[in-house]
Symmetry: C2
Subunit: 519 residues, 2 copies
């Protein structure tokens, strides 16, 4: 009759008809599930008009032509641009209209990033969606110990969680900054941890050209040098120093990876109001121009090198100057940038489960979904920060990680779209049950109940009374129990002992070759 | 360089350039803002293929033709259907293919629901989105007093909150069940509260035909009988008793409202697995068939009476039988139903901020957004349960109400789409700032900073240290302070004393005419 207790609550005492045995089977089968990367079967959501997209493209070309982009501390980069026909004035590079777009034509529209377990290799581009964990936080947070600097143990834990979580397809990169390891040696332990504790694809170091070289060397030890020469086994985050600048560090890493035919994600990192104008269309214009210049540069270094168009755009509070997340303006940017990337014909990276909240509470969840939903519908291909991001990227949260992983698994279902098979149509069920009865026991429900609905391991759907009897736990507390269980259940994937030894030898030699640095 | 503390955190200490005076002005102007209903400028998101939609339409016609719908305890309804050419067998009505769809052609594609304040009248249908509060919960929850049965004081409070919240366009109906008022007199106090404490459009009672009559009488006292005869001033929730049944109570209320040319929302209320099959396409088929029959019936009662296609669809846990919210399957249903409603040419109601959580925590927020984002992108016109819904609709939550209202205000911005004006393009800002500088102080930022970004009254974007110094409050606690402030700041809109008196007289006479009933 109405949408009240009567209807919603009255069903609560009824039980799914499958019985105890079926529920046991479900629980057993849930363990060890790992979903492949998503092949989206949903149409794309396009929020910006063709006319709007063309306008942004024209403005970006004007920016590139009139204002240009600075390539700092890298004379080789300037020489490469000079050779390519750009105007070089000091470190400022100005681009004839259409030059960058033309250069990018050699980049692949999609590519496979190989994992050491071939079943975990991912396609990046086209209709694919790949979820990777949070990248970069110096802090970690959990309910028991609060917020603290991250360690290499935390790093390994997040690698393990991504390995175990069903809808994380990628091990990511700097899942947190292991600040207990010297800054000049940390990349070795990070890359090794991805290899040793997971069999998912992973990211290399970008904090110095030599560290990028080390990442490639370790990948060669793992995959074999011949394989690496022919295939993409690393994907690497190259951020622009917005506005309109690439620095020598990022360019150095970019060149190493491109020359080795490894993938780069060229990402203008923009907090609107600080690094770009305060309007979504202004942010889009600048993002497009910066990404065009960076992606074109990869193709000058090595035509055909895989490159991903990245966009990280949020806002700042004009009251406090603090970054904000989950507001509507960045969502508009995201939808628009995805369309612009498609028009360029390159894979697109953006979005994630971004938030500014200090704890994994309602704010964190609202903000994360205000980013994640657009991420899925807009057609993002590579989703960094898909799980664990908290506090504007300052903290990796254990509990948020498993909450986000739950949402990602839902998106994996959503992206499959509609089952219009005979079974999906369920006309037999409707005929069997008829008016005024219920569907719990009908044959169609019996046949489908194990897989019919997404089951959240985090959400509590018990009655209020039962929830209260179990301690009135909120999601934060339940997620605390879940992440610990996931770590306790974790089993490392096998790794060839000879490869492991060669990696450890390499690291030991590298570490012995230089004194520790902590700044 | 990377997405770490360096970039996200480094901006925190900077201040928006507007200074104290501008911030004061912003705060002042924020008070008393009320947004008009949304006129969506975004293209629609269509997730189901044309082929899929046609399949569902054909299956729904098969259901109507072969299985039919029961119209219970209402001989007049059966007679009306017989006259219209349907097959009537007992209380079962079977419909020749296409009959319902043909009858619905007399329904308006959109209509105005008038508010007593003409500035608050809303358009329902077309590109409009109207947000209305939660409907139906017998309990209320807040942080101070926990969960308890709702009272008329709670009812008035939620009416006041909707009146104050900038992005609530509608006062709704049973914002909670005032269980301290006799069940047979409660509707009078509810309707009166909407009139007295708000000037937004509202809903009438549907729990009995006589109560619907009372609602219409009170509307006549407020608007004048002549105005009500010509205009829609009430919208009313008529739920089907799924599967495939309408009961006498709902049919009685439906007939009262349709005969008075007032709007009905015909809504199959479905928890998939209990009241419908476990597959999204099965749910869609049954929902369409039930809604077709109910909407067609309104047009038989009075051709041209405004009617809204409603869909409330979620799932049950096949493990516990409990209703679940925020999972991917209902989102697929929602997107598909919105498209089916458009093909019928009638306004559409669905979605909201639905969740199963017992407290307004991360689960509540994740689940709400898993419903609200589809609600906006799919093109829902009337969004009941847009704010305050908690615990599967068993509780109206004060804190959740203000959290949801914040999200609704963001959606109001999102729905405006892209500003591609000169100012929106911001090329002057990009030219002024150039590479390597920042946008905080540029002329374009100065000119736009007050309105550039959505500002959440609930989110905390301060530094961790400041947040900690202020008591480490999570969103639940901050929302507690906010709702109390909104109630404290509330000022009732003026109401003509003569009208007020006539309403109070009417209520007093009605209440004196019957003994109290509590069941």
């Amino acid at each position: 009759m109405s949408e009240t207790a009567g209807e919603a609550g009255g069903r609560r005492s009824r039980r799914g008809a499958g019985g105890r045995k079926a529920r046991r089977a479900l629980r057993a089968s849930a363990k060890g599930v790992k979903h492949p990367y998503i092949t989206r079967k949903l149409p794309l959501t396009e929020l910006m008009s063709e006319e709007g997209l063309v306008l942004v493209e024209a403005n970006a070309e004007t920016l590139l032509e009139e204002i240009g982009i600075e390539f700092r501390d890298d004379p080789e980069a300037l020489e490469i641009w000079r050779q390519a026909g750009a105007g070089v004035d000091g470190e400022r590079v100005r681009f004839p209209r259409g030059l960058c777009r033309e250069l990018i034509k050699t980049a692949p529209s999609s590519f496979i990033q190989h994992a050491r377990n071939p079943e975990r290799s991912v396609n990046i581009g086209g209709d694919s969606i790949v979820f990777a964990p949070v990248y970069g936080p110096p802090f970690v947070l959990d309910l028991d110990r609060g917020r603290r600097y991250a360690t290499i143990e935390d790093f390994r834990n997040f690698v393990k969680l991504a390995y175990v979580a069903p809808a994380l397809h990628h091990s990511g990169g700097t899942v947190c900054e292991p600040v207990d390891v010297p800054v000049n040696k940390r990349h070795l332990d990070m890359v090794y941890s991805h290899i040793r504790y997971s069999d998912l694809p992973f990211m290399g170091s970008v904090t110095a050209a030599e560290r990028a070289e080390d990442s490639v060397e370790m990948a060669k030890l793992l995959f074999g040098a011949d394989f690496v020469a022919e295939n993409t086994v690393l994907i690497n985050l190259i951020n622009a120093n917005s506005p309109m600048t690439f620095d020598g560090t990022m360019l150095g890493a970019l060149k190493v990876y491109a020359r080795n035919n490894q993938a780069t994600i060229v990402t203008p990192f923009i907090l609107s109001g600080a690094m770009a104008p305060v309007t979504p269309v202004g942010v889009m214009t600048q993002t497009l121009a910066e990404a065009l210049a960076g992606m074109a540069f990869t193709q000058l270094v090595r035509p055909g090198a895989p490159v991903v168009f990245g966009s990280f755009a949020s806002s700042i509070s004009m009251q406090s100057g603090a970054p904000t997340f989950g507001t509507p303006e960045p969502a508009l940017v995201l939808f628009g940038m995805a369309a612009l990337a498609r028009r360029l014909g390159v894979p697109f990276r953006s979005g994630g489960s971004l938030c500014g909240s200090k704890v994994p509470d309602a704010q964190a969840a609202f903000e994360s979904m205000q980013t994640l939903y657009p991420t899925i519908l807009a057609g993002v291909n590579f989703v960094l920060h898909a799980a664990g991001w908290l506090e504007g990227g300052l903290a990796s949260s254990y509990e948020k990680f498993v909450m986000d992983a739950d949402q990602l698994a839902m998106m994996q279902v959503l992206a499959q779209g509609y089952d219009t098979s005979e079974n999906g149509q369920a006309m037999d069920a409707i005929r069997e049950v008829g008016p005024g009865s219920h569907f719990l026991g009908c044959a169609h429900t019996q046949a489908n109940f194990e897989t019919a609905f997404y089951r959240s391991p985090v959400a509590d759907n018990n009655s209020f009374e039962q929830w209260e009897a179990e301690g009135s736990q909120d999601t934060y507390r339940r997620a605390n129990g879940l992440y610990k269980k996931m770590l306790a259940d974790y089993e490392a994937p096998p790794l060839d002992p000879a490869i492991d030894e060669s990696l450890q030898d390499f690291m030991a030699r590298k570490k012995a070759s230089m004194p520790d640095a902590f700044a």
